[in-house]
Symmetry: C2
Subunit: 661 residues, 2 copies
């Protein structure tokens, strides 16, 4: 082990293993996760050349090969539980993606949520075994966010009992679905359903796109890869154009809505139920934000412990860069954020399952809140993690720009989460819609439940943005509960400002849509403040569950740092709302600097607790053995440009210039 | 032309051509720039396949080929003026880099700055013609920022009158120099000079690394590519290890310091002069930040004008996404920033030349300020542009993730500017050192010149961070001059806080280095506020030079937006300093929203004025013809994965799974 890392680990005030158990949920989970990870680490079939040295086409091929092996191995190892599948896949992929990913994350779940029993019987087994390789084709070249704007049509022909699928324009070409370009032979296609001369809106259809056995596109289908992207190189995101392409009536997913053989449309009992998959994926992305940021922190903090540079005192040895206050100020708030998001991710997962069970029993009461919360937290955590990962990368100096650090791949693999499954600004506005509705309910005397219940507590009379009295309680900057209160007041204030501005616009304009648009910056601000409050609250509450004193102290410091850092960044909100005074903000800034020093001895142990095997596999800088520079040199030698001593371009292009010498 | 873009251009209130002349510096400059750009656009030798579809090795080869052609063509066209060379190269490269770039940007300038006349005679001509291909090898695997920590040694041997170069450790291996991996045959190597048993610190040596004619590494030289990176794919950033490698005494650059044949060391007259190249490159990077951000804004704003999505009013056609307030709030402050940085970049360039002329005549008085200003503004503008480019990318929805948008390549080509030529945090601390020195000078009664002269105006007694009186003047949020004053007060306050905290740490600790480290977060904050003030000031002053009324109005709105947006983002500073009140901040936020509406009709014309030909060439979304979707489809079809109907991986890995079906 690298001597610096050994020293860091020896100086920790707590046992990181115990934190790992908290993050995994239990000792048993940690044990089982490691068992599964070791299966991969010890299996020669999973060893392969570093993706970074391959061309896109080679990467795609390796990824397909790994997917095929994975299916075989999961069966062999008996891995079927969703958590176990995730552990298995995450380590096996090491910061990358897989061309058959959507078969499991979208095709099968949609089939389960929206297919009839007969449809599940027909397609489920073969898609689980990858004989049918499915993807999910919703987004079109010209249409993403606005589902009603999708142009693909499915017109029912009662004579043949078929749907005729068409992509009537260039903008209607399906664009982006993962695995569509080269890999899939089926797609669930979202299309505007026309029957008996009427449009019934978007419905889902199972569409065969390639022939089993030859894999050639079927007649009427034009399909291919959409070209190189920022990351996702091993994924064949694809396009799909359909021309009078016929599928049997039975290929419409009919668990909810139906088209009868004669073309009669039967509408679904409840429209909301079809959003299930989307809500699930969004709540999953909150956990992904936590995971990716945690991994970037692991690499950046370990590297900062190993890297020596500059002088604090002249003549003395170069210190670890983790001893520079500016480096701590860059990384420790991000580490605290990673922990905050870990707990939020866990909460979202548990909440989704709890509410989903309720839904299964017919209780839809919590669905609006769940929808608003997943939308907002998806946006809040992915935006934050997105810029935080880049900050981690840039905190690694020059080496952060090399793929040897692993962070560029974490970033490019993560950043689409800000856009897919609901563009973040649109998500924030969905949360805002719920907040405005809740605010109106309080105004009309209703008592609210759940995360917005704080809107009950505070009579609106008390807040006049322009002329506020000092809040009755003084914020205790060392108390997570008191800081949670401060964030609550901020959220309340920004929700109220947005509501009042929306009201003011409504009183000046004709339509509520125009008013909404003209208030949307305030609305996003309100949603962000609401989400920030929820994150601080969940982190603060989590502390009560921690038994071990040594760990409680450490996590409490992270929780306070997370909260204070947010206050420092958004000081204007806290000052404008008279939630805190200028001198309190100065104390906050001072306390943050003190906390950096307090956290410093535990920094490496805190990232060790994330227990990433793939920060080891996927990055030279994050390796446990810590021989960063030797490893880096060995890694670099494998660069494809080093395969020949003299590159052919010398003889072709440069030598001719030298003949004149 | 796309009908949306035509409509936008028709609705502009000013003639963008006039703004282009301002940005270029004169009508003549614009004309000459376009002449040069047209040479490239019309020359079939510069047409090549889209880099995005090539492997790294192919990209490298195309880049070398283009470099060779470029040398030939520039001679043919008679392009020798530095500005003209830049116009030529920038268009020819289209968001990419070139393996021989450092020959021109570092090798030749260093030879000119530090070489004797005899040395220039020996190497200059052949390096200009690319017979000698040089690079600049300073950074080592284990050492970047801290130059004294570099480990490479050059030991003088008077017996043979040679220097013996050594890379004594793994960490001492030269790492990162562009073009070193495969392309260069010479490098200027920075090494610790040892002669007569004593170390005299870093000096520069011309080191042949490959044999002319065969291009094979010379004996004693180990050289290669450092492997794949986040961007810079066509660049062979390299490593260099030297083992008892001998070069003649004459290969030490001896314009300033010298080693006599007997080994006697003659020290340079003035140490500061060797920093010339570095200051030049940093001031150049300010312009690069402006250029890259302007290009990203061009693409994102044109795309937002062409893209229709969602509904503002139900049933009406989908609006241009540029009509959404949230989209305007994302992009227009960035557009204003791009303009601000354009003017700062121009100012830095002019100031560099002015002061450099002074230096040529022996006047070093302005050198400390120039050094501090370039360091701080390099950091301030590159950090801002870095995150702003990503915001532009994410404002393009899904298509921003595709290389068809051009923005990912702008980003990865630009982002290293945050780290190279001085890591940004280190740069900010260098500026802070100058600010602290200036502050002390005022305290001891000295009157300051230049950008820090505001420290004269404000007696320190007036600022007590914790208990301030209201500032005498009320900020007029519509006046660039008044806003500049507000930024000045903020800068003054943060400089003072940093100075007082530094003083307080000094009174508690023994060493001033420890005190410096423990104040460094405050110091960076002070530097940022200083730089922000300088940018606002320069933008505000620029307005006075504009004659045309219609243009003055438009640029004034951008200047006010830039200033107000910064106040909104850093509201805490303005409130804590009692520079503005809470209700004024509320007015600022309201005024920003109004300005978005005011700027909206001119948005496309404002990016047209940047006059980027390569936003057209390098991006489907930024094209003038605006047939975004048709172009995108044509582009995607060229993806290498589309070269075969069925990828070989199907037969190898997926078909076996289907045999069971």
């Amino acid at each position: 082990m690298n001597p610096d890392l050994r020293k860091e680990r020896a100086s920790a005030t707590f046992n990181p293993e115990l934190v790992t158990h908290i993050l995994d949920g239990s000792v048993q989970n940690t044990r089982r996760r490691r068992e599964i990870e070791n299966l991969i680490l010890n299996d020669p079939e999973f060893q392969h050349e570093d993706y970074n040295f391959l061309t896109r086409s080679q990467r795609y091929e390796v990824a397909v090969k790994k997917s095929a092996i994975m299916v075989k191995k999961m069966r062999e190892y008996g891995i079927a539980d969703p958590d176990e599948i995730m552990w298995f896949k995450k380590l096996q992929l090491v910061n990358f993606v897989e061309p058959v990913g959507l078969n499991y994350s979208m095709f099968i779940p949609t089939l389960l949520n929206q297919g009839t029993t007969a449809q599940q019987e027909k397609w489920l087994h073969s898609s689980q075994g990858l004989q049918i390789i499915g993807t999910y084709a919703q987004t079109e070249m010209g249409h993403g966010t606005h589902l009603r704007g999708l142009e693909t049509t499915a017109t029912y022909d009662p004579k043949t009992q078929e749907f005729i699928l068409n992509s009537p324009t260039v903008t209607s070409i399906k664009w982006w679905p993962g695995g569509l370009g080269k890999t899939s032979n089926h797609a669930i296609v979202l299309a505007q359903l026309f029957t008996q001369g009427k449009c019934y809106g978007l419905h889902a259809f199972i569409v065969p796109i390639r022939e089993i056995g030859t894999h050639k596109p079927l007649p009427g289908i034009t399909v291919g890869d959409i070209g190189p992207k920022f990351g996702y190189e091993e994924m064949d995101n694809g396009y799909l154009k359909m021309d009078n392409y016929r599928i049997p009536r039975e290929n419409m997913l009919m668990k909810h809505a139906q088209v009868k053989p004669d073309g009669t449309y039967v509408k679904p009992l409840n429209n909301k139920l079809t959003y299930g998959t989307m809500v699930f994926v969004r709540s999953f992305l909150v956990g992904e934000a936590a995971r990716c940021l945690s991994k970037a922190c692991t690499i950046a903090i370990r590297y900062s412990a190993v890297r020596h540079q500059s002088e604090i005192k002249p003549g003395e040895p170069e210190p670890q860069i983790l001893d520079f206050q500016t480096q701590q100020y860059k990384l420790f708030p991000l580490l605290a954020t990673a922990y905050a998001f870990q707990f939020v991710g866990k909460y979202m997962k548990d909440t989704y399952h709890r509410i989903n069970e309720g839904i299964g029993q017919g209780d839809l009461s919590e669905l609006p809140e769940l929808h608003a919360l997943t939308a907002g937290l998806k946006a809040f955590t992915t935006w934050t993690a997105n810029s935080a990962i880049e900050e981690c990368r840039m905190a690694c100096g020059g080496h952060g720009y090399s793929h040897s650090s692993g962070i560029p791949n974490i970033y490019v693999t993560f950043t689409p989460a800000c856009t897919f499954e609901g563009e973040n600004t649109v998500m924030m506005l969905q949360t805002a819609r719920f907040l405005m509705k809740s605010y109106d309910q309080v105004q009309s005397g209703k008592l609210l439940d759940g995360t917005v219940s704080y809107l009950n507590d505070l009579p609106s009379q008390r807040i006049q943005p322009q002329q506020v009295a000092v809040w009755p309680t003084v914020v205790d900057i060392n108390s997570p509960e008191s800081l949670t209160e401060a964030y609550k007041l901020r959220a309340f204030r920004l929700v109220e400002i947005a509501a009042k501005n929306l009201q003011a616009e409504l009183s000046h304009r004709k339509s509520k849509e125009v008013a909404w648009n003209l208030t949307s910056v305030d609305l996003v601000r309100a949603s962000e403040a609401h989400c920030h409050y929820v994150v601080v609250k969940l982190f603060s509450e989590k502390l009560h569950e921690i038994q071990d004193k040594s760990i409680q102290v450490v996590l409490r410091n992270l929780c306070v740092l997370y909260s204070l850092y947010g206050i420092s960044q958004k000081a204007g909100d806290f000052l404008q709302g008279n939630i805190m005074t200028g001198s309190q903000i100065a104390q906050v800034n001072q306390r943050i600097l003190e906390l950096l020093t307090v956290i410093r001895p535990n920094a490496v142990a805190l990232v060790d607790a994330f227990d990433f095997k793939d920060a080891t596999l996927g990055s030279v800088l994050g390796r446990y053995d810590g021989n960063v520079y030797e490893n880096l040199f060995e890694w670099a030698k494998k660069s494809p440009l080093n395969k020949t001593e003299v590159h052919r371009s010398y003889y072709k292009h440069l030598k001719p210039l030298q003949s004149k010498l």
